[in-house]
């Protein structure tokens, strides 16, 4: 089954790309944009029909490779 994963920088960790996007948006006239945090999205197709087991695999995948937990959090959706 398909599992979706979002990896984001932990709050408090500097995100220069997010900052640049925010400033660009402000410059384009979107004056109400106060903050942008950039993240990563993964679509993972796991050969497993049990939802619980798929999510367990996804969690292990996130911890071991997709997220660097020093600076990143992950969410399985």
């Amino acid at each position: 089954m398909k599992v979706k994963v979002i990896v984001t920088l932990k709050s408090g960790v500097l995100d220069p790309q997010g900052k640049a996007i925010q400033q660009t948006l402000n410059g384009m006239g979107f004056a109400n944009v106060k903050d942008v945090r950039q993240g990563k999205y993964f679509d993972i197709d796991i050969d497993e029909s049990d939802e619980q087991k798929s999510k367990q695999s996804a969690e292990e995948i996130c911890k071991k490779l997709l997220a660097n937990q020093v600076i990143e959090d992950f969410k399985i959706i």
């Binding site: 960790v13 220069p16 997709l66 660097n68 020093v70």
Partner: protein, 227 residues
């Protein structure tokens, strides 16, 4: 002394490192990432470059490559491991070194000569080194060192900070911090000081025609310490 340089797809300082090591008397071998055994070595070097195109996070894919388990075993048994630039990023991704190298604060690729102050010379890498401020070269997009407060405290308490970015006269200040690295950190050790990761490239400063020779001081001294 025998050294080995690991080559990953996308490494681009592997041959510079090979030239530098041989120039100062190491018998160097090049090792492909897909091998699973290391040749007999006194020093393993993870070179600079863009392993796996910096996909996912710099060094993250290389950190899971086939040869890495042998490098980890070698390091854990006390073997000397040096990671330069992308090699430093790979070492943090394997967990051999603490923290992470984030994107440079000003979102720009920085390529220039800088100065570093050696902070701890009680180890094989810097023992008896003639100068404590070296002019080296940096070329990176992700060199902004970051770790948690607790990790920083333990790095400082165990004297694991190897080098700080500084001015030409050795002053460690904001002005000489090229990339936003926490506390101006340019390189760190593991607890036992047998693993060194640093962003600056000593192999790019081994000849006057390469704009400086402070890298020579590093390699000559390293070889002397290993003999």
């Amino acid at each position: 002394m025998n050294s080995s340089v690991i080559i990953f797809p996308g490494s681009n300082c592997d041959r510079d490192m090979d030239v530098a090591l041989k120039k100062f008397g190491f018998k160097n071998k090049m090792v492909w990432h897909d091998d699973d055994k290391l040749p007999k070595s006194d020093l393993i070097v993870l070179p600079g470059g863009f392993s796996y195109g910096d996909y996912l996070r710099c060094g993250s894919i290389a950190g899971k490559s086939k040869i890495i388990q042998s490098v980890i075993d070698f390091a854990n048994s006390g073997g000397l491991v040096l990671g330069i630039c992308n090699g430093f990023q790979i070492l943090t991704e394997t967990g051999l070194l603490k923290g992470v190298l984030q994107q440079n604060k000003n979102i720009e690729f920085i390529c220039k000569n800088i100065f570093v102050k050696i902070n701890n010379s009680e180890n094989k890498f810097f023992e008896n080194i003639d100068k404590d401020v070296l002019e080296l070269h940096i070329a990176h997009n992700e060199g902004n060192y970051f770790c948690t407060k607790d990790e920083l405290k333990s790095l400082e308490d165990n004297n694991q900070i190897a080098a700080y970015y500084c001015s030409s006269d050795g002053k460690v200040d904001d002005k000489s911090n090229p990339n936003g690295a926490m506390k101006n950190i340019a390189g760190i050790f593991n607890e036992k000081k047998n693993i060194l990761g640093m962003m600056p490239h000593p192999e790019r400063m081994i000849d006057q025609s390469l704009s400086g020779e402070d890298g020579s001081i590093f390699f000559e001294n390293l070889l002397k310490n290993l003999k």
